[in-house]
């Protein structure tokens, strides 16, 4: 009786593990298949800070840098530029225009996303 119960327990655990494996695989494959690698966003070089949904485009000293708009603390989208700081609305983390943390709770700097300005200078290709 005990053997049968043990067998069934192991079998069920195996089936659950198999389902988890399949689920994990199918999800990761789906993410990879549908992931958008690059985004093209209009570039305004006059604007020091542009919030473009998932990205923050910063023009400073004749160079353009693209940061992920997601706060490194919990991923909230940063959408405010107050004083000279980028401010997260959720918990008030602050970053300077180099993406460096100036005030917590975040402790990691904003992620820099590779980008390239289009030949005509009107767009920026993000994630290139």
């Amino acid at each position: 009786m005990n053997d049968r119960r043990t067998f069934l327990k192991i079998a069920i655990a195996g089936i659950v593990a198999f389902f988890v494996f399949v689920w994990n695989k199918l999800t990761l494959n789906h993410i990879e298949a549908t992931q958008q690698n690059t985004s093209v966003v209009p570039l305004n070089k006059n604007k020091e800070v542009t919030f473009a949904d998932r990205f923050i485009i910063v023009n400073q000293n004749n160079s353009t840098t693209v940061f992920s708009a997601h706060c490194t603390h919990l991923g909230c989208k940063i959408d405010k530029y107050e004083g000279d700081r980028l401010v997260c609305p959720c918990h008030g983390s602050e970053y300077n225009l180099q993406g460096e943390v100036m005030k917590g709770p975040a402790y990691k700097n904003l992620n820099v996303i590779p980008s390239q300005i289009s030949d005509d200078g009107k767009n920026i290709i993000i994630g290139a």
């Binding site: 999800t27 959720c90 709770p105």
Partner: protein, 899 residues
């Protein structure tokens, strides 16, 4: 058994709520659009009161389902010594607690508003940070970031089914007792009618999670590694499991731990809900922004089955920034806006606040800002995140908002501080004699003084924040306002860049009076009744009489104030300046250039200048614009092309070619330290002999609180004159300049009249102030108007004569005015003849009158000018070789002796 079955517990109530959640959810699925949740919910609230009621019902039933379920746990734990569930059931029950929260949070996410979007980001990040399966779990829970489909599926199916199974397994029944069901259903109807489910207006910068997670949000705020917070969830679930299935001490400790956790979490929830505002900063109920930052979360209109508008109008009104606003269902056909401020683009609430999702006038207009733009509410109107947040942050730091110089100088004059250059702010006035003096007589003119009545800007206008400069009424808007016949007004005043001299006039026609000076009007001491009937006289504010004088040459050419002054001067640049001349940026030499111009390419403009330039002049790509020397700001209405500098008037678009300064101005020998205005000021208003006393019986006014009061400082004015300004010396670290000055404060103050202390002395001051009179003339003043003029030198009016006796020259001065008993100097003088004056001499610590040596040098040239015409060859030569000429002068030339 039968008795137990029908007994009302929080468990049976939770079961009743569960079915009500399900029923209302199914009904809500009809109007809800998962492709655009935020728009569909705002649409429900605005155009479909029955759907709105259903949504409220779904919301409230789910909240009570959660609350009753949790209380039901307590019920078990409190009344039963031991629960003793089987491990399997206990495990599923713990899991159900997690799933209930997931069902709740997915419902919260399905609003699609600003709160939901950020909550979704947090949930995604936390899930992704789980080891091994984090990424898959996050995606499986939330799906594609652009879509709500998977969240919707989980909300209506996955989680709901699981909860149903767990509940039935736990309670062993499908249906609640009929009475519980009926009572719950009826109670919820009342609640759902009275209080709507929340929806963020996506303008308010404060974002918060649902009430049951704000405590968690507070915890997350403390953690540098927030993923560790998930262990709290795990711990709670384990405690629930142990409380349900364990025995003895373990069970007891689990229950106690849960109780302590609930107590602590409740405190955190209260903190998160009521003491955290924008950017999760601490706030208190008595703070000015509390209502805006915190209480907006509780702004819930009741369902209105007979909206104050035609449904067709509501359906036809446009979606604005992804939401429906009820405002436009009533306020149809409103016109008069600039393109950027059209309601189709930004709606009404962006400026006027109120409740965009309420459908009755009263509820919609609650907390409305009737006159937006006042600095006290600018952050909630003009300064919301999508609009002009940087500007509304800057403006309060600028001098037109702080009045720093005015306050600081006034305190200095009242001997309350030793330095006239200390930064100050009008919002921080105290109760001293100086500050009361300001409150009674001076501080009406600051941008923070609110505009309280609709209407166009005129010469009586003071303050009004953004509107002080940007408000314009069309004739129709003005007519509709004047008629005020109770009908809804359709002609809306314009908020635009059309800033005219009239906008500046109200405030700047006072004190230094640059607005009136510029147009060529000088204030007299005549009364209205005494005013001659002549075009040479003008009545301002119904009682002040002005007489015609020479207008500024730029005014003659059609230039307005904003043609010279740019946005960073007028709206501040974020720095706190002590005096207006520190904030003021544009100098004559920025436009009237004699060498290589300083330029900036249009492509490199700052965003604000680029937008203003584009709005005013269209495409400016490829242009090179002038840059100011002092603060390196672009002058957007200038450009350099083919070695010529062009200037375009901002409002009228007239193009002009800039003239380079005359050769005499750009010579680097004599006069190189003179500012342009020291020569090119044609006249400046002066006032001497002012007396100030406090009259306890006089009706006065408190200009900060805007109300009348008994007792006020009273100013007894002396006499006004218009004449060529005196000259003084301004010394800074970098340079020493000769600047025009006027008798800013030759005055007495009866201090004891305010303090009541007989020992307080009468204060007397003889202070001159730097001036920028705005009376520029193309031709500079003559040589003798400085070198031979007692007013220019600071002696005041009188006879200044060069006397030669027995081959010896000597300057003599006889003043027009009698000596003042306070200091023995003539009433209008700055300095004593041929003396160096020190100590308190000016309203700036870096401004001085000519010292004895400087007077000698000026008057030496003056002596020459008594014989030689200023245009004579010898005087022209003296401009470059004065010392040499003096050395080789003829015996007829008698230079002054100074002893």
């Amino acid at each position: 058994m039968g008795q137990k079955k029908n007994k009302t517990t929080f468990g049976t109530l939770a079961l009743a709520m569960f079915w009500l959640v399900v029923f209302s959810g199914v009904a809500l699925a009809i109007p809800f659009d998962v492709k655009d949740p935020y728009l569909s919910i705002s649409n429900i609230m605005v155009v479909n009161p029955w759907a709105s009621l259903t949504r409220n019902y779904h919301y409230w039933s789910s909240q009570f389902f959660l609350i009753f379920s949790l209380i039901h746990f307590y019920e078990h734990y409190h009344y039963k010594e031991k629960i003793g569930l089987k491990k399997g059931i206990s495990f599923r029950l713990s899991l159900a607690v997690l799933i209930i929260f997931l069902a709740m949070i997915t419902g919260f996410l399905l609003k699609g508003d600003a709160d939901s979007q950020q909550a979704r980001q947090i949930l995604q990040t936390l899930s992704e940070r789980l080891p091994l399966i984090g990424k898959s779990l996050a995606f499986s829970l939330l799906g594609d970031p652009e879509s709500y489909q998977l969240i919707y599926v989980h909300h209506i199916a996955t989680f709901t089914v699981f909860i149903a199974i767990a509940m039935v397994e736990h309670g062993r029944k499908f249906w609640p007792p009929a009475l519980d069901f009926v009572a719950s259903a009826a109670g919820l109807f009342i609640l759902s009618y009275l209080l709507s489910a929340p929806l963020h207006d996506n303008l308010n910068p404060a974002v918060k999670g649902p009430w049951y997670f704000v405590g968690f949000q507070e915890i997350l705020h403390w953690l540098r590694h927030p993923e560790w917070s998930l262990l709290i969830f795990l711990a709670v679930l384990v405690l629930v499991y142990l409380a349900n299935s364990a025995k003895d001490k373990t069970m007891f400790l689990s229950k106690r731990s849960l109780l302590i956790f609930v107590g602590l979490y409740s405190v955190l929830t209260i903190i998160g809900l009521f003491f955290r505002g924008q950017n999760w900063k601490w706030t208190t109920p008595w703070s000015q922004e509390y209502k805006f930052e915190v209480l907006h979360n509780f702004r819930t209109p009741s369902v209105n089955f007979s909206p104050d508008f035609e449904l067709n109008e509501a359906i036809a009104s446009p979606a604005i920034q992804g939401r429906k606003e009820s405002c436009l269902a009533c306020h149809t056909g409103t016109h008069g806006f600039t393109d950027s401020h059209r309601p189709e683009a930004i709606g009404c609430i962006s400026c006027h606040a109120g409740n965009p999702f309420a459908t009755g006038k009263e509820q919609s207009h609650r907390n409305m800002i009737l006159i937006p733009g006042n600095l006290s509410t600018a952050k909630q109107s003009c300064g919301t995140t999508q609009c002009h947040p940087q500007i509304t942050e800057r403006v309060p730091t600028g001098l037109m908002a702080t009045l720093s110089g005015m306050i600081s100088v006034n305190r200095f004059v009242f001997n309350e501080q030793d330095n006239p250059d200390e930064p100050a702010h009008v919002s921080q006035l105290g109760n001293s004699a100086a500050d009361e003096h300001l409150r009674n007589l001076c501080v009406r003119c600051h941008l923070g003084n609110p505009k309280t009545e609709p209407g166009p800007v005129n010469e009586f206008s003071r303050g009004g924040g953004c509107l002080a400069c940007h408000l314009n009424y069309s004739p129709q808007a003005e007519k509709e306002l004047a008629e005020n016949n109770g009908e809804m007004m359709q002609a809306h005043p314009e908020v635009s860049l059309k800033i005219t001299n009239n906008h500046c006039f109200g405030c700047h026609s006072r004190s230094g009076r640059i607005a009136t000076n510029y147009e060529g009007w000088h204030e007299t001491t005549l009364t209205k009744e005494e005013m001659p009937d002549s075009a040479n006289y003008r009545l301002i504010e119904g009682e002040r009489v002005f007489v015609k004088k020479q207008e500024d040459v730029h005014h003659k050419l059609g230039l307005e104030c904003i043609d010279c002054h740019h946005s960073y001067e007028l709206m501040g640049d974020g720095n706190h300046y002590a005096h207006q001349e520190n904030q003021q940026d544009v100098q004559c030499s920025d436009c009237h250039i004699d060498d290589e111009p300083r330029t900036i390419a249009a492509e490199n403009l700052d965003n604000e200048s680029a937008i203003i330039a584009a709005l005013r002049f269209g495409n400016i790509a490829g242009k090179k614009l002038l840059l100011t020397e002092k603060h390196k700001r672009a002058l957007i209405n200038t450009y350099v092309e083919n070695d010529s500098v062009y200037f375009i008037t901002k409002n009228s678009g007239v193009k002009m070619t800039m003239r380079a300064p005359a050769a005499v101005c750009s010579r680097n020998e004599a006069h190189s330290s003179l500012t342009c205005s020291s020569c090119h000021t044609s006249w400046a208003p002066t006032c001497i002999g002012c007396h100030n006393a406090y009259d306890v019986n006089e009706r006065g006014y408190n200009m900060i609180e805007n109300h009348e009061q008994k007792g006020t400082w009273v100013e007894y004015i002396g006499q006004y004159e218009a004449k060529l300004p005196t000259l003084g010396v301004r010394k800074s670290k970098d340079k020493t300049e000769v600047v025009p000055v006027i008798p800013g404060m030759i005055m007495t103050i009866d201090l004891k009249s305010y303090t009541g202390n007989e020992n307080d002395p009468e204060i007397f001051h003889r202070l001159y102030a730097p001036a920028s009179p705005h009376t520029t003339s193309a031709k500079g003043r003559s040589c003798v108007s400085c070198h031979n003029d007692p007013v220019a030198l600071g002696y005041g009016e009188g006879d200044l004569n060069y006397i030669i006796t027995n081959g010896k020259g000597k300057w003599e001065f006889n003043s027009k005015y009698a000596a003042d008993p306070h200091d023995g100097l003539p009433a209008d003088a700055w300095i004593d003849f041929m003396k160096t004056r020190t100590e308190k001499v000016a309203t700036r610590s870096d401004l001085f009158p000519f010292d004895e040596q400087q007077q000698q040098r000026i008057l030496t040239v003056g002596a020459c000018l008594t014989c030689h015409d200023e245009n004579s060859a010898v005087m022209q030569k003296s401009l470059n070789h004065f010392d040499e000429l003096l050395k080789n002068r003829s015996s007829k030339c008698i230079v002054p002796e100074w002893k």
